[in-house]
């Protein structure tokens, strides 16, 4: 069954299991399309979006192919020196163009410049084989990695923890989900959420440099928080509440800009008047926020990476009122949906999200090949009357068209569309890390022995107060009487999941830094250890040393010395950066029109745009199809037609195009497809129909092996 399944052309091939790619795969399969989902890695999420054990992370950060790491950071300027200099228009050449230029046919697919004409003479189409860049030459998003082992004084504590490598879940890109965001709505509406477990983030905090030695303060954002906060004065309370109600009033309009009837006209008038102006200016001049309040709103709630004077730090333009209000609304509307805080944390790592969508895809008969060993891409360069041009008429007809892949054993997999992660198709030379617009996410992962938050005082609990004192240890004396108890039950700080926003210039950090401290609730580390993630964004050309970028913060909160010290001790640490947005990737002019490269990871500490991105890609490929409607419950599925083999062939025919016409040729020339299916890949998920047919629980096994 599997052989014939592989030989028949697919509607779409998805390469890479990043979150966007996985959502697209799930949506396509859900819409009844034939989906082939490939990933050369043996884990979900791609290198930048994966969740790893301690040992695995070491391998991902410094992969076995050291060449790729060095080349990703240094090869670009040498390959195209012009791109390294100030000229921005120069586009680095890609392997695809290189391959197209070099016309020396070679029999061996390993050779980087071989083009093979498809041997099937009966085919009207000419398919070129463009070799994919070898692993060592491929673009790799992670660079500048340094892993630091503990000092001798902490080695005793570290040794037993290091032996529990598999108890760690370390995210390369740790990200929380706003409770009311598109991605959460999608998880609910598509029923993918039932494959996942989330924990509410226990506290949202912000840091400030004064008073010195203060623990991070809770971000006041609900009415009760504003009321009991001692962080600012009476007038500030009113100003903040007014701003918050302004945003709340505007919420429905931002969701549905066509319908202004639900919004107070005064609110709308102010918004339309200022929406394109600078957020900082508006907050200061129009909304009369005091510096103290501005600090909280700007950094802790809107997470704006700008200096207090409004100078943007990791983008070219300052945030507008429209963008800022959107962020505030996002934050506020998420409060109270699942917990007091607006954020959810995916248990067992963010890669679980990718995996859940892959599972849905597999449930709807998507085919999976993990550790896919692809040799080359099949490209049809001849103009064809029936290219997938219906959907992308704007593309030039003479541009090459993606037709499929050939793996190292010569098996053909064909589809009219490819959705791919850049890291699997682009050579390192195609990505200019030092491009002036390139943005990297600087990262640090620390394993510490306890929380940066002080333990809850026992006497506070005895007094029957669920203690605010836990989060406000530096609060003034007077607050002890009027503002101690908070609604949250007392929690051991070492168990909590805490988000801490560290605004620019607080502890020598140039940029806004998100600190995520994962306690026992997150299940990210074995007992006795905590995981701390530090994240910030920067122009790659300006700041590339993560160790230095976080130096002040780490020195402020942590010690590297003996465990007897007052502050938590860093037991193990890793510093690296992830290339987040390189314009060269987007400007791939030579990429065939029917290849869609997914943007690399969004790097802020939340996942906001993936759902929209995936939807845009899906709509481009399958216009008019429903996007991820709710998957039915297994008990609500009735089984009446056993003839599933032919049921979807008509739908297929209509979407077939030139590339899939090549299917008969490939199947005739590749009698070994069966071997591929049984040999190199895990049992294909074609079996899903049967699993679901037995009407077992919703959780059907994906064919992808769990990374271990």
């Amino acid at each position: 069954m599997a052989d014939s399944e592989l030989e028949r052309p697919f509607d779409v091939i998805v390469l890479g299991t990043g979150l966007v790619e996985s959502i697209v795969a799930a949506a396509a399969a859900r819409a009844g399309k034939r989906v082939l989902h490939l990933d050369p890695n043996n884990y979900y999420g791609g290198a930048a979006g994966g969740s790893f054990t301690l040992d695995e992370l070491g391998q991902v950060l410094t992969p076995e192919w050291p060449a790729s790491k060095t080349s990703s950071s240094t090869a670009a300027p040498s390959a195209s020196p012009a791109a390294g200099s100030s000229t921005t228009d120069d586009k680095p050449t890609t392997a695809l163009t290189e391959a197209a230029c070099v016309q020396t046919p070679a029999e061996n697919a390993d050779s980087a410049s071989s083009i093979l004409r498809e041997p099937a003479s009966s085919q009207p189409l000419e398919l070129e084989r463009r070799p994919l860049p070898a692993a060592a030459d491929r673009f790799y998003p992670i660079g500048n990695a340094v892993v630091e082992q503990p000092l001798a004084s902490a080695a005793d504590i570290w040794a037993p923890l290091a032996r529990q490598s598999r108890r760690f879940t370390l995210d390369v890109s740790p990200r929380g989900l706003f409770s009311r965001s598109r991605i959460v709505e999608l998880l609910i509406s598509s029923n993918v959420g039932r494959y996942l477990e989330f924990k509410p983030v226990d506290q949202m905090c912000f840091a400030r440099s004064e008073p010195a030695g203060e623990a991070p303060q809770p971000v006041p954002c609900s009415r009760a928080d504003v009321f009991s906060s001692s962080a600012f004065g009476m007038l500030d309370k009113r100003v903040l509440m007014k701003l918050l109600s302004f945003c709340v009033a505007l919420g429905p309009y931002l969701q549905q800009p066509t319908d202004a009837s639900q919004v107070d006209p005064d609110v709308l008038a102010e918004f339309t008047r200022f929406k394109d102006t600078s957020l900082v200016q508006w907050l200061r001049a129009e909304r009369k926020l005091s510096p103290k309040l501005l600090y909280i709103v700007l950094y802790a709630i809107a997470a704006v990476d700008e200096s207090s004077t409004g100078e943007p730090l990791s983008s070219r333009a300052a945030l507008t009122v429209e963008q800022g209000v959107d962020r505030l609304c996002q934050y506020l509307s998420s409060l109270g949906r699942y917990s007091r805080t607006p954020m959810l944390w995916s248990q067992y790592g963010v890669a679980e999200l990718s995996q859940a969508f892959c599972r849905l895809c597999a449930v709807f008969a998507g085919t999976y090949i993990l550790r896919a060993d692809l040799a080359s891409m099949l490209v049809s360069s001849s103009a064809s009357p029936s290219t997938p041009a219906d959907t992308c008429a704007t593309e030039s007809v003479s541009s090459p068209t993606f037709a499929g892949f050939v793996d190292t054993e010569g098996h053909h997999m064909l589809a009219p569309w490819l959705v791919a992660s850049p890291e699997h198709v682009l050579p390192a030379s195609a990505v200019a890390r030092d491009h002036p617009e390139a943005i990297v996410t600087l990262r640090a992962i620390l394993v510490t022995n306890r929380s940066v938050f002080p333990a809850v005082g026992l006497k506070d609990q005895a007094a029957g107060d669920a203690s605010n004192a836990a989060t406000e240890p530096g609060a003034e004396e007077s607050s002890a009487d009027s503002a101690t108890p908070a609604p949250a039950p007392p929690v051991n700080p070492d168990a909590r999941i805490s988000f801490v926003c560290i605004p620019p210039d607080t502890y020598g950090n140039r940029h806004l830094v998100h600190m995520v401290e994962l306690g026992a609730n997150a299940g990210a580390a074995p007992a006795g250890a905590m995981v701390v993630h530090l994240t910030c964004q920067a122009f790659a050309s300006q700041l590339t040393n993560p160790r230095a970028a976080f130096g002040g913060i780490v020195a402020h909160y942590f010690d590297h010395n003996a465990p007897s010290s007052v502050r938590p001790v860093v037991l193990w640490s890793a510093y690296f950066d992830v290339l987040t947005n390189a314009p060269a990737v987007a400007a791939q002019t030579d990429t065939p029109a029917n290849v869609i490269l997914c943007a690399p990871m969004a790097s802020d500490s939340s996942i906001q745009n993936v759902a929209e991105e995936a939807r845009a890609i899906f709509d481009r490929i399958f216009p008019g199809e429903p996007f991820l409607p709710a998957a039915p419950n297994p008990e609500d599925i009735t089984w009446d037609a056993p003839s599933e083999a032919t049921s979807d062939s008509t739908a297929l025919d209509s979407t077939l195009d030139a590339a899939s016409d090549a299917a008969p040729a490939s199947s005739s020339t590749d009698p070994t497809a069966a071997v591929l299916a049984s040999d190199t890949i895990p049992p294909p998920s074609v079996a899903f129909g049967e699993v679901a047919a037995s009407s077992s629980d919703a959780v059907s096994p994906t064919s992808l092996p769990e990374p271990n």
């Binding site: 309370k237 107060d465 009735t638």
Partner: protein, 335 residues
């Protein structure tokens, strides 16, 4: 696609619901008839006890049956082999379930109160915890607050800890008349001025002002805080603000109090700059001006009254009345 979704039609769902409902109704009516027949026949037996329980757990609002049930229980208590404590305990557990589903039913709380009077060894501590639990679910259930005050009295809980409890509840959500009310009852008991028991220690009064002002600034529309504020003003030394009907306003403010009132007035003026239409802010600053120095603020008081009539036309007659009264006071003072 291997299967398709099975969806019940709306009519099918409705029909199933209807069936369920009529079944329930029949059972209820049957029970009801039997219980009332026994009640009329004055039968206080075990069957009646079981049947009332059955019926009341479905509908606790039938207070006649709670009375009936209490009669049955009293009869049972008289039996020689009856362990009253256990009996009460069982009934309390039963009630707990009822209250959980109907937390605002008068008869349930009433029955609970009666039970604890009957019990030889009432566990007040447990009752107090129970009210805390119910108030966590709904912090504004006045039945529960009422019961808590009763329990706190019987359990002789320290006033201070109850005071802190109200603080906690107000911090969760300050739109809570019950919590502010309880606070206003506790405050004079804990912080009464030694010299004059009708007023409150100034140090504590200032703290209270801070707290309630915080609420007023956070949400000027919320009147529960303003009510408490007004009550507080009446509790200060020599400030007869709470009762504006009295024409005998004393004007010998102590310098300390005057200072406090001036600063409060200043704060509300700032608030009014941000919220010029806040009725409560206007009214309260008017009362403050009245207390500090009525004659000096004459014009401002009168414009405030006009403003109030404009922003709160529903109560314009009240403001008219207030105006007449204040004018009379002013005239009297001028003579």
């Amino acid at each position: 696609m291997h299967g398709r979704s099975r969806v019940k039609s709306a009519a099918e769902v409705e029909e199933a619901k209807q069936k369920e409902r009529s079944k329930k109704l029949a059972l209820f009516q049957q029970l009801n008839a039997r219980v009332f027949a026994k009640y009329q026949a004055k039968e206080y037996d075990d069957e009646a006890f079981a049947l009332t329980r059955e019926l009341l757990s479905r509908s606790p609002e039938i207070y006649t049956l709670w009375n009936y049930r209490r009669c049955i229980m009293l009869k049972r208590f008289l039996q020689t082999d009856c362990n009253v404590q256990d009996e009460c305990k069982a009934e309390l557990t039963f009630l707990e379930g009822c209250i959980a589903t109907n937390p605002k039913c008068y008869w349930l709380w009433n029955h609970r109160r009666w039970l604890l009077e009957q019990a030889p060894k009432p566990d007040w501590k447990n009752e107090l915890d129970l009210t805390s639990q119910f108030l966590n679910r709904d912090s504004r259930n006045f039945h529960c607050w009422d019961y808590r005050r009763h329990v706190a009295r019987c359990a002789s809980v320290s006033l201070k800890s109850e005071f802190e409890f109200t603080t906690a509840k107000i911090e969760q959500n300050f739109s809570n008349y019950s919590a502010w009310h309880y606070r206003s009852k506790l405050l004079p008991m804990i912080f009464a001025d030694q010299a004059d028991s009708s007023t409150i220690l100034e140090s504590q009064l200032h703290k209270e002002f801070d707290m309630v002002q915080s609420a007023c600034f956070t949400e000027p529309e919320d009147q529960s805080a303003w009510f408490y504020y007004r009550w507080l003003l009446g509790k200060g030394k020599n400030v007869a603000l709470a009762d504006t009907t009295s024409s005998k306003t004393t004007h010998q403010l102590s310098p300390g109090t005057r200072e406090v009132l001036e600063s409060e007035l200043g704060a509300f003026r700032e608030l009014l700059e941000l919220e010029p239409d806040s009725k409560w802010a206007i009214l309260t600053s008017l009362l403050l001006m009245h207390a500090i120095d009525m004659r000096a603020h004459r014009e401002e008081i009168l414009t405030s009254l006009d403003r109030l009539r404009a922003v709160d036309p529903c109560r314009r007659r009240y403001y008219n009345d207030l105006r007449t009264r204040l004018l009379a006071e002013l005239d009297a003072a001028a003579q």
